[in-house]
Subunit: 196 residues, 2 copies
DNA sequence: TAGCGATTGTACTGATTGGTACAGTGGAAC
DNA sequence: GTTCCACTGTACCAATCAGTACAATCGCTA
């Protein structure tokens, strides 16, 4: 869709602006016009690069996943219990940075977009990708003998994700990370129960 | 606002219609006009009972809390570990009913409304009320000597709520209750760790 | 330099949005 | 039966929405 450096730059500016606005105001609360005003682009550019608003949202979902994973690099190198702890600390540090609202951009979308047949599968897929990195790490631990052979990495990863999301949801509402800190500590303790 | 039986009936019809539509389409995705069409009411009625759309949403949030609590009556009578198990079963049974989407109406709102200064506190308060019933039950258990004296009921209740919400969020996206079943089982196991 | 496709600016549209204006109607109290 | 107020029906409004039309421009290639 963007076959020129200049075009790519414009497209990126639109997606960035949309990602920022939708993080705060939600999808329906973010109009195309606002996105274009914030990005400095014009309407013809928006509809040159995206067929419609849903496709813009799809690009935003991809962007969110990239941002999320970039903020927790430890998830790519999980090979020990210490690495898992590092990972949870990175998860918390993102939201400890002042100014950033406590919320998972994907989690915010999950409720609003949950029944849109075009977008819900994309959010689901983003979560699965995120979760798969965690599951891969748990497989590594199991292969190294640090996790019981009978443990199910996929299922444990899903359980950890529920803690991350539930913790973030309550922390978001309460403007207080405590809920997430506890949720992650409990999740980690649960995983440690599967040490051989 | 509604001082007559007829008026109350109309107001309830509007709130019911709004609650149903917003559960599926979200707040921003549900226009006042759609609510009125679904409820059979006219615009003058809507703005007779509600100052604006936000106040309608506030009433919907109250309605959601009522519905949620009505679906888990065990939460009012928690006095044993068996009662806690019953409670989690009730939570699951709600979403096992065919036709009903797997989602917490409050959780759906949390992301979308999370930064609206008028509505976010209401969602937060609804969660606190919900959680307070659980905390009260845990106090009862502690007083009966079934929970360690050092356990913090409020904190444990918050931890359980994060499991409920995280589990529901993933179960919603995946149209599969497994995530929630696991999350609740883990939460219950965690609580049992505080048996004296 | 001529051409070509990628890119962009401006103006516009029809539908929908939340909200208002205002003239009514209902039914109960006096 | 009249008075009063809660309640209702219909028509309307300005703003905003997503999306379109179309002509102009940019930079590269031949």
């Amino acid at each position: 869709m963007a076959s020129t450096p200049r075009g790519k730059q414009t497209r990126d500016a639109i997606v960035d602006a949309a990602a920022g606005l939708m993080y705060v105001d939600g999808v329906a609360g973010t109009s195309v016009d606002k996105v274009l005003a914030a990005s400095g682009a014009g309407k013809s550019q928006m509809y040159h690069y995206f067929k419609n608003k849903d496709q813009l949202v799809a690009a935003v979902i991809d962007r969110y996943l990239e941002q999320i994973l970039a903020n927790q690099p430890a998830i790519f190198e999980l090979a020990s219990w210490a690495d898992l702890e590092t990972w949870t600390e990175q998860l918390l540090d993102v939201h400890r940075r002042a100014g950033s609202p406590i919320a998972c951009p994907l989690g915010n979308l999950a409720g609003e977009v949950g029944d849109n047949p075009k977008l819900a599968p994309l959010v689901d897929q983003a979560y699965r990708t995120w979760e798969s990195h965690l599951a891969r790490g748990l497989v590594t631990l199991r292969d190294k003998g640090e996790l019981a052979p009978g443990a199910d990495p996929a299922r444990l990863a899903q359980a950890a994700m529920t803690s991350v999301q539930g913790g973030l949801l309550l922390a978001h509402l309460r403007h207080d990370l405590t809920a997430m800190e506890d949720a992650l500590a409990i999740a980690l303790a649960y995983l440690r129960g599967f040490k051989p």
